[in-house]
Amino acid sequence: MKEQVKILCITCPKGCSLEVTRDGETIVEVKSGCKRGHEYAERELTDPRRMVASTVRVKHGPHPLLPVYTAAPFPKGKINLLMQALREIEVTPPITMGMVVVENALDSGIDILASRDMKRIG
């Protein structure tokens, strides 16, 4: 059964409104301004993902928290579980930007990376 959905594209700052016609799981047509928008619409309606940034606890660092981020867009439905998992870990310096803090988080195939360096203090 065909239905029309409107979604907002987040690929670039323009923020176009895309009209998508879908038939169950299948995307039939996308009215959009550009190719990237088309790709976004398809993904968003079948497997929505987001870049996630957060923090994890760190011991012996200059601050109690280390900022981290997903190496690639993360499945939207698992974000709450990801946040819970990040609450439970604690890291210790030395840490370098880009270092893997959690490998293959929640079996997503996506690593969680350190956003910055941190030296050991005390």
């Binding site: 907002l8 957060s54 200059p62 928290l65 900022p67 981020y69 930007m97 880009g98 956003s115």
Partner: protein, 424 residues
């Protein structure tokens, strides 16, 4: 060990300042120092842990701290000196900097060129005059961001956000991800003021309602915020009676605008454009004060940090060029300072090469009358360069003295000359 004088001193180690310092170094400035009030480099980016930085500069989607880390690494690798945990207190138009820090103590430095990159501050509750008492729980989005992301504490459980700019929306998401409730975002304009992509990723994704054409009529609560009274407004921002809704919450987050931080700029005599709130600058980012440059949010509020870094880079190049001209002037010119009993001497500096072509004439006045024989002496660090006898010295009469050509070698090596009048 801090030097007395630097080629370029950059104030603020955010994306603007870091880029300026790196560019100054790459442009050939020998001694470049960044003074930063926080305990580490990076500026506001250290608390902006979300992605969206570096799309232009690095062609990557980086979180704020990672963008900063790239610049920090480069700054350190090119030999930029840093002074952390130090606040600049005053800058003079002649580019003398006074600063203080707990570990650095009282700092007194000279700069051949200065780059101002202090960034901006946030508009406050009082500046938009929200009625109510003054309970705990009214915070600007940036203060809350510092607590949540860096200090590691949640400043509330139940939030209302005023302002649909990017900072407000990003904090709405952040707080929700860390287990707080965001009841809604209120925006006085009839349209979203931040990016649509943030509306999707920060509000829609979390079912946080956006109320356009709404503002806050008053804050409720005495010791801690208990609620805010939201109200709809017309196109003139006038509240529409009867549309008031009390929204229970314990925190009001304000995201109502950024203002360039120019307290120091004013002290240095920099002219501020009343419309931007930042200095008037030319295409080289020089302000009206020669040798003082400004870049980044301190000049006007940017939308993309990549452009801040680009502005910083240009300002750094300009600052380095200015510094190099200053160096040359110092090499070619030696200052002459009034010493004992001398009120002033003109000229105040002389071109070292002038003595190759002829004598250099100095004119000076004594402070107080001396009615007995005097020597008028020019010295280089105690060594006599030349002198002349006079029967008396009176303030009303100019005394003339010539530095002879034969003093050429002495003057070549001098850092500074002093002229004094002493009794015989």
């Amino acid at each position: 060990m801090l030097k007395d004088k630097y080629d370029v001193i950059v104030i603020g180690a955010g994306p603007g300042g870091l880029a300026a310092a790196i560019a100054a170094k790459r442009q050939g400035a020998e001694d470049v120092l960044i003074i930063e009030r926080d305990q580490e480099l990076g500026g506001i980016l250290q608390q902006c842990i979300h992605n969206g930085f570096g799309l232009e500069v690095f062609k990557q989607d980086l979180p704020g701290p990672a963008y900063a880390q790239r610049y920090i690494n480069e700054a350190l690798s090119v030999g930029v000196e840093t002074l952390l945990d130090t606040m600049v207190l005053d800058i003079t138009p002649r580019r003398r900097i006074f600063a203080s820090g707990a570990r650095s103590g009282f700092v007194d430095l000279k700069a051949r060129a200065i780059v101002l990159s202090m960034g901006c501050r946030e508009r406050t509750r009082a500046q938009i005059r929200i009625p109510g008492m003054r309970p705990a729980g009214i915070f600007t989005a940036g203060t809350a961001q510092r607590w949540v992301n860096v200090e590691g504490f949640m400043p509330g459980k139940q939030f209302v956000v005023l302002g649909s700019g990017d900072i407000g929306m990003i904090m709405a998401r952040r707080l929700t991800l860390e287990g707080a409730r965001v009841e809604g975002v209120l925006e006085v304009m009839p349209f979203l003021t931040g990016l649509t992509r943030n509306y999707v990723q920060c509000l829609m994704d979390f079912d946080i309602p956006l109320h356009l054409s709404h503002t806050i009529k008053r804050v409720i609560g005495k010791n801690r915020v208990e609620a805010v009274e939201a109200v709809q407004v017309d196109e003139k921002w006038t509240p529409i009676p009867g549309t008031e809704v009390v929204m229970p919450c314990d925190t009001l987050l304000l995201s109502v605008g950024l203002i360039p931080e120019n307290e120091l700029s004013r002290k240095a005599g920099v002219q501020i454009d009343p419309i931007t709130g930042g200095p008037f600058v030319d295409d080289r980012f020089e302000t009206n004060v020669p040798g003082i440059f400004a870049a980044g949010n301190v000049v006007h509020v940017y939308d993309l940090v990549d452009w801040v870094s680009e502005a910083g880079r240009q300002a750094g190049v300009s600052a380095a060029r200015f510094a190099s001209i200053e160096r040359r002037k110092e090499d070619t010119h030696v200052p002459i300072k009034p010493g004992e009993n001398v009120r002033y001497v003109v000229p105040q500096t002389i071109d070292r090469e002038s003595l190759a072509e002829g004598n250099v004439r100095l004119q000076l006045r004594v402070r107080q009358p001396i009615e007995s024989s005097v020597w008028v002496e020019v010295r280089n660090n105690g060594n006599l360069v030349t002198r002349k006898g006079e029967l008396y010295a009176r303030p009303g009469e100019i005394i003339t003295l010539e530095i002879p050509m034969k003093a050429y070698d002495e003057v070549q090596l001098a850092d500074e000359l002093t002229i004094a009048i002493v009794k015989r």
